[in-house]
Symmetry: C2
Subunit: 146 residues, 2 copies
Amino acid sequence: MTTRNIRKTNNEMKGRAVTSQRKLLLDILRKSGGHISAKELYRSASRRNESISLATVYRSLQLFKELDLVEERRLGQVFCTYEMKESAEHQHLVCRSCGKVIEFESPLIRRLVEALKHEHGFNLTKIELYMEGYCKECAKNASDIV
Amino acid sequence: MTTRNIRKTNNEMKGRAVTSQRKLLLDILRKSGGHISAKELYRSASRRNESISLATVYRSLQLFKELDLVEERRLGQVFCTYEMKESAEHQHLVCRSCGKVIEFESPLIRRLVEALKHEHGFNLTKIELYMEGYCKECAKNASDIV
DNA sequence: TATATTTTGAGAATGTTTCTCATTCTCATC
DNA sequence: GATGAGAATGAGAAACATTCTCAAAATATA
Ligand SMILES: [Zn+2]
Ligand SMILES: [Zn+2]
Ligand SMILES: [Zn+2]
Ligand SMILES: [Zn+2]
């Protein structure tokens, strides 16, 4: 088997420069398991690259969004959280008491998208179902107190 | 018919002071038809009360939320928008091109809530389905260009 | 009306995200 | 491997939404 000089189409970055900062940030994002904020990402990256700038983190996240590599969501807080898009499409359930995030997905959502396309002629690009409440444990503890 | 001195149970404000600022803000919210930002509300209120403070607007919105009078939603932007809760429960569809907001509601959402309650024992307090895309008109214009 | 409690205005402070610009890095080409 | 044009970076300033502080004013209750 000969190793031919195949032009490496830099698939993931679609022609944008592959810098050490971007590699580092993607690596952290992949290993983080999702729902990481820009600041957390920055702190995490700083441990491996002393001089990385918060601006670079934000700029990279912006780029990753454009390249469809990461997904940006707001989970109740003012700030956004980020996670790799490789994981299956899902929605979020956040506990107001303990902050736990439950991910779930449901066929009902796909049906809803279809219905909206038909009824309003809307071409959807983003679906965010955000739900907040009290998880089983926290609801239980609250009722124990009363 | 005698006018008895009935203790006016300040229903809406549940014992909290009824100030001119709060009355003004509720009035604007009611007449605005929904999806108004804190800043817009502030500007609107300033026209009728020169000296009202932006902090008062934020504090009042906080209170109205607690009293369950208004609902706070994020429609894609960094800032929140507010609308009276009197209107039927609904969800939002926002056009990325023209900014148009379409309100809709669907029985599928109620079914989803039931399913989540059963599957995860989650006691839901807030449901925000936010969808983004291109409306019929904007999608059409875009394809005309191409 | 008098008094205790809330609320307000103004501006400072906070927290997140974006911008600016001089310097550095990347990558296609030689 | 060296070169150069263009892209990306670091550092801090700026922008933006939101919250906090505190003295002064308004409100509710008796
Ligand atoms: Zn919980
Ligand atoms: Zn997730
Ligand atoms: Zn549109
Ligand atoms: Zn609405």
